[in-house]
């Protein structure tokens, strides 16, 4: 029997890894996008886990929505990234600081 705690720990670890990936990575924008995906997946993990324990199907249903949105988001993100690369010849995060005050 897989216990709820184990699954929550797993999703927390995944979440932590993706957040850390965001902070530690200072080079590549693609890595950032991947971290965002991982973040969403760790949230999905929670949905699935709770859905299984409580026997409520809505949790698993919700995962599909999240996955769809995540797919759309990464499609847009990659599209922006391509345009950005054409424009700047770089996807280095350090170079993208136009918002600096």
């Amino acid at each position: 029997m897989i216990r709820l705690n184990w699954m929550l720990v797993l999703s927390s670890v995944l979440f932590a890894i993706s957040v850390a990936g965001m902070f530690i990575n200072r080079k590549n924008l693609i890595l950032l996008l991947m971290c965002v995906e991982l973040l969403l997946l760790s949230a999905n993990m929670n949905f699935v886990a709770f859905s299984r324990i409580t026997g409520d199907i809505h949790g698993q249903l919700f995962v599909f929505f999240v996955l769809t949105v995540a797919a759309a988001e990464s499609a847009i993100g990659l599209a922006i990234l391509v345009v950005l690369f054409r424009e700047r010849r770089s996807i280095n995060v350090e170079d993208l600081s136009t918002l600096k005050g």
Binding site: V19, M22, F23, N25, R26, L32, V93, E94, L96, S97, T98, L99, K100, G101
Partner: protein, 687 residues
């Protein structure tokens, strides 16, 4: 006993305004005859209505009109209105202003015939008539101030009428700046009126309210550092009189008037002799209920007037420019009027104002006629012997001068002699008053000086050997006016008298110059002609009654002249002018070389211009620069405006370091924020 119709009163100033608007706004499209025709019609109608009103007020026994015709605005309980006060004083002024203005309008047709600014000129003088009428007809300080400034603006425009001449621009700027000094005092005086009327019956700008509160104001004192209390009425009166000093060109604010002769001669006659410069005299007479409460202010007025009357007369002796001699004579006569005000015989001052308006306008117009005939040459040393070439001008100029010097039975005799008598009586009533004694001697010597320079002008211009054809080409080269070259008169070496439009006004002004004094003196001054429009303190009534008893009637007063030292002073002045400029013509130069220091002082006009330009102007600039650099740039801009902006900028500079521009730091803060909020939410819900 019928009341005056406000519509008629309103029409009197508005007709010239409408004419000025037509001539001014369309000056580039309308032909010349329309511009002159419409303005002359406007002023003529205004003059006719003024005569009607004066007849009703002075003889018909119509009620004094004092009412508001238009409420402009109300602020803090102080109403600002357009209102008229038409009493005997106003009626006299209205007739003088419109009549002289009408004569000058007609004269201008001839004088400006070949000037490009013909339409513009007519527009200006009509606008002046409107402004002056607003000034004299006003029943409140706001409108008085409006008229006061409006005549100042028109004077500025007209002095600089030939705006391509640098001297004209210098002169009009000078007139404007000097008048600002006077206005500074005037505005302070009006502010004092509002401040004190607010304490006694409600803040008001109306004359009537101010006069009602006058006795209470006179009992007030306020603290001024370095003195033991200043009487409020003295302060107000002196401030108002400083305004009058600017407008009526009293020492030391007189410097603009001689320079104003840069303008065309018709306006020298209308504005800088007959009407505008007398606005200060009129204002003080109008404010007689205030001035009567301050002995100190009256003595101040007396002193300034006496100084102006004598010392400006001296300057008339050494000048050779025909217009400047008449200008200095105007200054001197304004001094006489001011002396009358200071001796608190306001009605005599207004009487002299009236007679002076006629004969001084006449003298200026005659001088203008000579200037036309001499092809815009103004130097009297290049004239002489003109009598046989221009008889009408010469005779009318003689009449004007005889009136000016106070020949018995001429108008100026009655007014000037009464001023001298009043000062003499004042001097006898208050023997311990040094200023009255000083004023008495000033006006006495002034009589001699006036006679001397007036007759000198006549002899140098109309008599003696002709000096103008000695060098006919030179007079053309040194011509003052820019348009001298285009003058239509044939230049065959002999002067010609201008046409009827010049001679007509001369004759029209010569008649009142002779008659008006004898006709009106007794009735206007001692027969209650001014009604209640001028206020006298009881102690001064004594003076007036004494004058009246001495006066008798016009024949006896005229015949008494021979017993009076004044007459012999006039005769001495005339004789010495004849001796020096007809008989022994080598003497003036000899005297000038003998009295070099005095001539030097006179030629530099007592160094007033030097003091103004070398001391006062740099000092004012120094103050201005200090206020600009320290006050404006340092405190207001540096600390208040730029300072607050800099403070905000500094804080923004600190705060903006948070905005690193890196995605991960934004994400980091989002996560932290989310965590904090979630934590707060959870702990709250758990408890």
């Amino acid at each position: 006993m019928k009341p005056l119709d406000p519509d008629i009163l309103l029409a009197i100033p508005l007709l010239p305004l409408a004419a000025a608007a037509i001539a001014g706004l369309f000056c580039r499209v309308i032909p010349r005859w329309v511009a002159s025709g419409v303005t002359i019609l406007g002023v003529a109608a205004s003059c006719a209505l003024s005569l009607y009103v004066a007849n009703a007020v002075l003889f018909g026994g119509a009620d004094v009109f004092n009412g508001t015709v238009y409420q402009w605005l109300m602020t803090d309980g102080v109403g600002m209105q357009v209102g008229f006060l038409v009493d005997q004083l106003t009626a006299v002024m209205m007739v003088v202003v419109t009549f002289v203005s009408l004569c000058v309008h007609v004269y201008t047709i001839g004088y400006m015939a070949d000037d490009d600014g013909y339409n513009r000129f007519f527009s200006y003088i009509s606008l002046f008539t409107f402004s002056m009428l607003m000034l004299v007809m006003s029943n409140n300080f706001m409108q008085l101030f409006f008229g006061w400034e409006a005549v100042g603006v028109v004077s500025y425009l007209l002095i600089g009428f030939w705006f391509k001449r640098p001297t004209a621009i210098f002169a009009n700027l000078k007139a404007f700046l000097v008048n600002r000094v006077g206005d500074f005092g005037f505005v302070l005086g009006i502010a004092g009126i509002i401040y004190y009327t607010a304490q006694f019956g409600g803040a008001s700008l109306n004359y009537a309210d101010a006069f009602k509160a006058a006795p209470q104001i006179a009992a007030q004192t306020f603290n001024l550092p370095g003195t033991d209390g200043v009487n409020a009425m003295t302060f107000i009166c002196i401030c108002l009189f400083i305004g009058a000093m600017g407008k009526s060109a009293q020492v030391p604010l007189h410097v603009w008037l001689p320079d104003s002769m840069e303008g065309p001669t018709p306006i020298s006659a209308l504005i800088h002799a007959a009407t505008m410069v007398t606005a200060g005299i009129f204002m003080v007479a109008r404010m007689s209920p205030l001035f009567e409460h301050s002995e100190f202010a009256l003595n101040f007025v007396l002193f300034i007037g006496a100084t102006t009357a004598l010392f400006m007369g001296f300057l008339g002796i050494i000048n050779n420019d025909i217009k400047r001699v008449v200008a200095y004579s105007t200054l001197s006569q304004l001094g006489y009027m001011t002396v009358a005000l200071g001796a608190s015989v306001y009605n005599v001052a207004i009487f002299h104002l009236m007679t002076h308006a006629f004969f001084k306008a006449l003298l200026f117009l005659a001088a203008g006629s000579v200037i036309i005939a001499m092809h815009h040459e103004q130097d009297m040393r290049k004239m002489g012997g003109l009598f046989k070439y221009m008889k009408v001008t010469a005779i009318t100029c003689w009449i004007g001068s005889l009136a000016l010097i106070g020949t018995p039975f001429f108008s100026g005799y009655y007014s000037k002699d009464l001023i001298i008598d009043a000062v003499k009586a004042q001097h006898h009533l208050h023997p311990d008053n040094g200023i009255a004694t000083y004023a008495y001697w000033c006006v006495m010597i002034g009589v001699f000086v006036t006679a001397f320079y007036s007759v000198r002008l006549l002899f140098m211009t109309f008599h003696g050997k002709p000096r103008w054809d000695a060098n006919p080409a030179a007079s053309h080269e040194h011509a003052h006016d820019t348009h001298a070259e285009t003058h239509p008169l044939p230049h065959d070496g002999t002067p010609h008298e201008p046409g009827w439009e010049v001679k007509g006004p001369l004759v029209a002004l010569a008649i009142p110059s002779v008659l008006i004094g004898a006709m009106t003196a007794r009735w206007l001054l001692f027969g209650g002609g001014f009604g209640n429009s001028i206020f006298f303190n009881d102690e001064h009534h004594e003076l007036l009654n004494e004058l009246g008893e001495e006066f008798g009637n016009w024949v006896s007063f005229g015949a008494h002249a021979v017993q009076n030292p004044v007459f012999w002073l006039v005769a001495a002045g005339v004789f010495s002018a004849w001796a020096l400029y007809i008989k022994w013509t080598h003497l003036p130069d000899l005297i000038a070389t003998k009295l070099k220091p005095i001539v030097f002082v006179l030629e530099n006009k007592y160094f007033f211009d030097w003091i103004n330009e070398k001391l006062i102007a740099p000092l004012a600039r120094l103050f201005g620069t200090a206020f600009w650099k320290i006050g404006d740039q340092g405190i207001i801009d540096g600390i208040a405006v730029d300072g607050s902006a800099k403070t905000i900028g500094f804080f923004a500079g600190v705060v903006r370091r948070v905005q690193s521009g890196f995605l991960y730091s934004y994400a980091f803060w989002m996560v932290i924020g989310l965590a904090v909020m979630l934590g707060w939410f959870l702990t709250r819900s758990l408890n």
